[in-house]
């Protein structure tokens, strides 16, 4: 039962690489993917997978910042809004 094949993109990790073709892994499942849309893909990179292509790199540090932001947002009292410009907005 296909839910959303066409717009589907998911995070996965490159575990093998040869030329423009990679094997990516997600939750113990592996799949072939092209890395021709990325500059300098490397084994170990997290990527966003869409229609058989890694379409962009996923930055684990930014992911961790976003998760920290969730925790912060969820923890603070009734909307304290610490500093809207200090969050992940508009990275330089």
């Amino acid at each position: 039962m296909s839910l959303y094949a066409m717009c589907l993109a998911i995070p996965a990790r490159i575990i093998e690489l040869s030329d423009q073709s990679a094997v990516v892994e997600i939750g113990g499942v592996t799949r072939e993917a092209s890395v021709m849309l990325l500059e300098d893909a490397a084994v170990g990179d997290w990527v966003l997978l869409h229609a058989g292509f890694a379409i962009e790199r996923l930055d684990p540090e930014e992911a961790e910042k976003t998760l920290a932001l969730f925790r912060e947002m969820a923890a603070a009292g009734p909307d304290a809004d610490p500093d809207p410009d200090a969050d992940a907005a508009e990275p330089q």
Partner: protein, 376 residues
């Protein structure tokens, strides 16, 4: 940049999106959203099929009821693909020696006379693929047949289609071509924002499209329309925290581009993908089902790659076709009415037998409303 990087996401083979679906954090965010707003419900339009599906799949409308109204705009590429394109695809499918390769979403979409599913039942060779590269592989495996990939999508999919053309060219595969129906999102958003019928307070900007085009692409839009634009990831916590960011902007009476999806989307986007698109495609006018022709909002295949353009190769034209009588998809796509307000919804128009664009794809606003029901 191949420096060893810390891996915050679980490495024990569990799924990397789990932290973005944490129930406790979701509950806290929902409480926060509900506690931070006492005005009339804020109308937020998402323009990304993945958001439509995520909101529906995780049931996010119900807990936000009364605070934020999430409206599904023209973010589903299948939904905005006009009848004339399907007719052209079917004409190709019925030509001798032609194999149509397509994402699964397209096969049930009705054209003016039939769907690809019907054409297949009538003997046409229609194959479902998960990647345009699978279509190139089909072509390479069977040089006697012409393989035509239905290149339908937004900026997320466009570079993959471009990639397939470059790959076919590099491998000398001449029996591969693409029938393009590629569209660009920011222009459509600008048009919606400028439409006096469309009453929205903010945009939830797409995740995957933004990964390609970059978050700076929305700056001109914000300047013109003055609506908050938050680029949001497609996990439930992404969407909830983006809603909170929007509420904060509205409370502060500001409107700017914020990027909740900073783990993937950067201000400049994926330059390599952009360069590939610029090489393979050229802007064209595009007919959006429900919205009409939007100048410069489409991507056609550039003349130097004309031999990979199925339209040119087989002399097939995508004709404009009138909207179906009674269908109010245009108003649904603009967020003017909710799916159940259309008289055809659930009666003449169902996922099994769709009349309008929005019921056609699983990503469509009406299909999601029908399929996931509650609060849609």
């Amino acid at each position: 940049m191949p420096i060893p990087i810390p891996m915050p996401m679980p490495q024990n083979r569990s799924n990397p999106f789990e932290p973005f679906r944490d129930p406790a954090a979701a509950a806290a965010l929902i409480a926060k959203i509900r506690g931070s707003w006492d005005g009339p419900p804020v109308r937020i339009m998402e323009v990304c099929g993945t958001h439509t599906m995520a909101i529906a799949r995780h049931g996010l409308r119900e807990p936000l009821q009364g605070v934020a109204k999430l409206i599904s705009g023209p973010g589903c590429p299948v939904c905005v693909t006009p009848d004339g394109y399907i007719d052209a695809a079917i004409a190709l499918a019925e030509a001798p020696g032609v194999t149509i390769a397509t994402f699964g979403d397209m096969v049930r979409v009705p054209g003016t006379r039939a769907s690809l599913e019907r054409a297949r039942a009538g003997g046409a060779d229609v194959r479902i693929v998960y990647s345009p590269l699978d279509a190139v592989t089909l072509a390479s495996a069977d040089p006697a047949r012409e393989v035509v990939f239905l290149g339908v999508g937004f900026e997320t999919t466009a570079p993959t289609v471009a990639g397939s053309i470059i790959t076919a060219q590099a491998r000398g595969i001449a029996n591969y071509s693409v029938l393009p129906s590629l569209r660009t999102i920011p222009g459509a958003m600008a048009l919606l924002a400028a439409d006096p019928d469309v009453k929205i307070d903010a945009f939830l900007c797409p995740a995957n499209v933004s990964a390609i085009i970059g978050t700076d692409a929305y700056r001109p839009l914000v300047e013109v329309c003055g609506l908050p634009c938050v680029v949001a990831g497609f996990e439930p916590l992404d969407i909830l925290s983006s809603v909170l960011m929007i509420l904060r902007q509205i409370s502060a009476r500001t409107a700017r581009v914020e990027n909740e999806y900073s783990r993937v989307a950067t201000p400049a986007g994926n330059r390599k993908a952009q360069a590939l698109m610029a090489d393979v495609f050229e802007p064209c006018d595009a007919d959006w089902r429900g919205l009409g022709v939007l100048p410069g909002s489409g991507l056609g295949i550039a003349s130097k790659y004309a031999s990979f353009d199925a339209g040119r190769k087989f002399g097939v034209a995508v004709l404009s076709t009138p909207e179906r009588p009674g269908c109010r998809c245009g108003e649904v796509l603009k967020g003017m009415i909710d799916p159940p307000e259309c008289p055809l919804f659930g009666n003449a128009c169902t996922p099994e037998s769709p009349v309008g664009a929005c019921m056609v794809s699983t990503e469509g606003a009406c299909a999601a409303a029908r399929r996931f029901g509650i609060g849609a």
